[in-house]
């Protein structure tokens, strides 16, 4: 990504430049990493957290059938907001 690391963030209504991409990249990969932790890694240790029953459902089961879906939907909604802010800061309308 050498080619994205020059010049400062431009003002609105001119091309947004490299800081736009840096922030976009960070937000997107952070979401992917958080998903991987909760959906891929957490189930591996969920058995050890079975004491934490939710609505009477053992934690591991709850995580798999509902928790991961809730987390994913929240992550995507937060990403919409975050990217919206990044776009606005760089004078883009999305």
């Amino acid at each position: 990504m050498k080619d994205t690391k020059s010049a400062a963030a431009p003002a609105s209504n001119v091309p947004p430049g490299p800081s736009y991409w840096r922030r976009t990249r960070r937000a997107a990969w952070l979401a992917a990493a958080l998903w991987a932790v909760v959906a891929l890694l957490l189930p591996l240790v969920a058995q050890q957290l079975e004491v934490l029953a939710i609505l009477g459902i053992p934690f591991g089961f709850y995580l798999g059938e509902q928790g991961v879906l809730i987390f994913t939907a929240l992550l995507l909604l937060l990403l919409v907001r975050r990217q919206g802010r990044i776009d606005a800061d760089h004078g883009l309308d999305g």
Binding site: P15, Y20, A27, A31, A39, P43, F61, G64, V80, L92
Partner: protein
């Protein structure tokens, strides 16, 4: 190449559906007929171990929505093949097109299988006739349907799909005066299943070897296996046009991202009833069928048995007499049915739910109609997206707003012919009953994960990825996954003999395989067919690398594809200037960015 303001101009002329419509359609597509039947079947049979599929489903939306969709939208690209074509050129495009055809074929086989089963349940048609009718319906719909029409249709289907999952769980609770919210009573249902499993074991009505405890994880799958399965499904979905192309066509980046996020919310809402429905099926089988007199089975069960969807004592449960005869013929004839003597086909579990809950047959028929519509719509959408992707940019009326040069009518015709050619092949394959619905879905998504995901992600996120690197990654990834899936399914004995050192099979399974192999070698001519079938069945249990199941081959193929991509990109010529300009446009860079890239490109020359 598209001009810089191309993406903006689509805002006025875009495809004209709101993020909510796109999300409803995507949600309905993700909960397709094969997913509805397959996922409930797997969850009912395996309990917690089936949940890795749901993680994969969520991952498809997350990875697609965060890492791929916004960048396609920004550059006015409607799908992964268009991205690969623009970023990596013709060779990679052709390789990716072949992969997409194979993936679509496998996924179509699953949807046609689900549609066939649902049609059988609705009309009582036999399996071959139902599959032929299903294939014909998909073929005609795939030829006639437009992208916009399918989006509207699938959006309208979503409430029906959600209702088909929720009503069979809510109606019995309402009838009993209980709380009709599945999630609130779900914990109690799970507890009841666990208690019942223990009780059946004590009464010797369940086999301790074959019983998969519903609430105990990693019974049917290892922890790493669950991770690989989730990853295969997620990467596969995140690189397929069936998920990407609707949000990618949105008028603005905001609307594209919102479409994906709303899809996730809708899938969540509908899937709230998925696990409770599966648990109710399991509870119904444990409490309603196990311990029954084999001669006194309910008419709804015999109805499913007549369609080949329920077996009791190893024979199709077509009538009370047939069941009694089959059970009497067992070495250890039961007086009452034991758990391992009842086999409900994975594709029939959802259709058994109303009967198990004491609901009238009309509910089963209604669910089957919704499943048939969901499968037909998803299969049609697969054909439509394949058609669009093969034809290239600007070939469809929906693309009129893209300022790409329209591809010729001949290209669109060829794409249509190729897409439609896949349907009969898929239907024929489905008729050979290659695997369960979820297995088929996982195979298709594995091929996509192995063949497309590394190149799609690298096209956006790695500026040094080269056309040759992408081409080789596609070929290497998909070859490995396809070899693993095909060899372990159709050539299991040869696979095991070649790779026995890598198999993680236990001594018992290996001994069974060796016995079957020796029996086959010694079999007389008239016994050879039966001995060969046994040999293949035993070989499938031992044919693997490190215990990886074929459904997880996508993660393995994607890892190899990524490695090949990195190594090959390091030693092959860089992308052309035009291909690199696409990257700059994705990254929000314009004039100064281009200038920077041009200078770099020039220096390399």
């Amino acid at each position: 190449m598209e001009s810089q303001n191309g993406a903006r101009s689509r805002g006025r002329l875009g495809p004209g559906f709101s993020p909510l419509t796109g999300a409803l359609a995507t949600g309905s597509d993700l909960l397709s007929g094969a997913v509805l039947l397959g996922f409930t079947g797997v969850l009912a049979a395996l309990g917690q171990d089936g949940l890795a599929l749901i993680a994969g489903l969520s991952g498809g939306l997350l990875l697609g929505g965060a890492l791929v969709v916004p960048h396609l939208q920004r550059c006015g690209l409607r799908g992964p093949l268009h991205l690969i074509a623009e970023r990596f050129g013709l060779s990679a495009r052709i390789a990716a097109a072949l992969v997409l055809m194979a993936v679509s074929g496998v996924l179509l086989a699953a949807e046609i299988g689900a549609l066939g089963t649902a049609l059988s349940v609705v009309s009582g048609l036999g399996r071959p006739e139902a599959l032929a009718l299903a294939a014909l319906a998909v073929l005609l719909a795939g030829l006639a349907a437009s992208s916009r029409g399918m989006t509207r249709l699938q959006a309208m289907l979503f409430p029906l799909i959600a209702a088909a999952l929720a009503l069979p769980v809510m109606l019995p609770a309402l009838g009993a005066g209980g709380v009709p919210i599945p999630q609130l009573t779900f914990g109690t249902t799970l507890q009841a299943i666990s208690d019942l499993e223990l009780r059946l074991l004590e009464k010797e009505l369940a086999d301790p070897v074959s019983l998969k405890a519903y609430l105990t994880p990693f019974n049917a799958i290892t922890p790493i296996g669950a991770l690989l399965l989730s990853l295969s499904v997620a990467l596969g979905l995140a690189s397929l046009p069936r998920v990407l192309s609707r949000p990618a066509l949105a008028a603005t980046g905001y609307r594209a991202r919102l479409t994906v996020a709303l899809s996730a919310v809708l899938v969540l809402l509908a899937a709230l009833a998925l696990a409770p429905a599966a648990a109710s099926i399991r509870l119904g089988i444990l409490s309603g069928l196990v311990g029954r007199d084999p001669a006194a089975l309910d008419p709804w069960l015999l109805e499913l048995g007549r369609l080949g969807l329920v077996k009791v004592c190893g024979a199709n449960a077509v009538s009370a007499d047939a069941v009694t005869a089959a059970c009497a013929a067992l070495a250890d004839p039961p007086t009452v049915l034991r758990l391992h003597e009842i086999e409900v086909d994975q594709a029939a579990a959802l259709f058994a739910l109303p009967g198990l809950s004491g609901l009238p047959i009309a509910v089963t028929i209604s669910i089957a109609v919704v499943v048939a519509l969901a499968a037909l719509a998803a299969a049609t959408w697969l054909v439509v997206t394949l058609r669009h992707e093969l034809a290239g940019r600007g070939s469809e009326p929906e693309d009129a707003s893209l300022d790409a040069a329209p591809s010729s009518g001949a290209a669109a015709m060829l794409a249509r012919a190729l897409a439609v050619f896949v349907v009969p092949l898929a239907a024929f394959w489905a008729s050979t009953e290659p695997a369960d619905l979820t297995e088929l879905l996982a195979w298709g998504l594995s091929l996509a994960a192995a063949g497309l995901a590394p190149s799609v992600l690298a096209a956006i996120w790695w500026s040094r990825a080269t056309p040759a690197g992408a081409f080789l990654a596609i070929v290497a990834g998909v070859s490995l996954a396809a070899y693993y899936i095909v060899a372990t399914r159709y050539f299991a004995p040869q696979f095991y003999e070649t790779w026995s050192a890598l198999s993680n099979a236990g001594f018992g399974a290996i001994a069974d395989y060796e016995t079957a192999r020796d029996a086959f070698a010694a079999a007389a001519d008239e016994e050879r067919a039966a001995a060969l079938a046994t040999l293949h069945a035993e070989a499938r249990r031992v044919a693997n690398w490190w215990g990886i199941k074929p459904a997880m081959a996508g993660a393995m193929g994607a890892a190899v594809g990524l490695l090949v991509l990195v190594l090959a990109s390091a030693v092959t010529p860089r992308s052309t200037l035009a291909q690199r300009e696409l990257l700059a446009r994705m990254r929000g860079g314009h004039a100064e960015h281009y200038h920077h890239i041009r200078r770099w490109h020039w220096r390399r020359k």
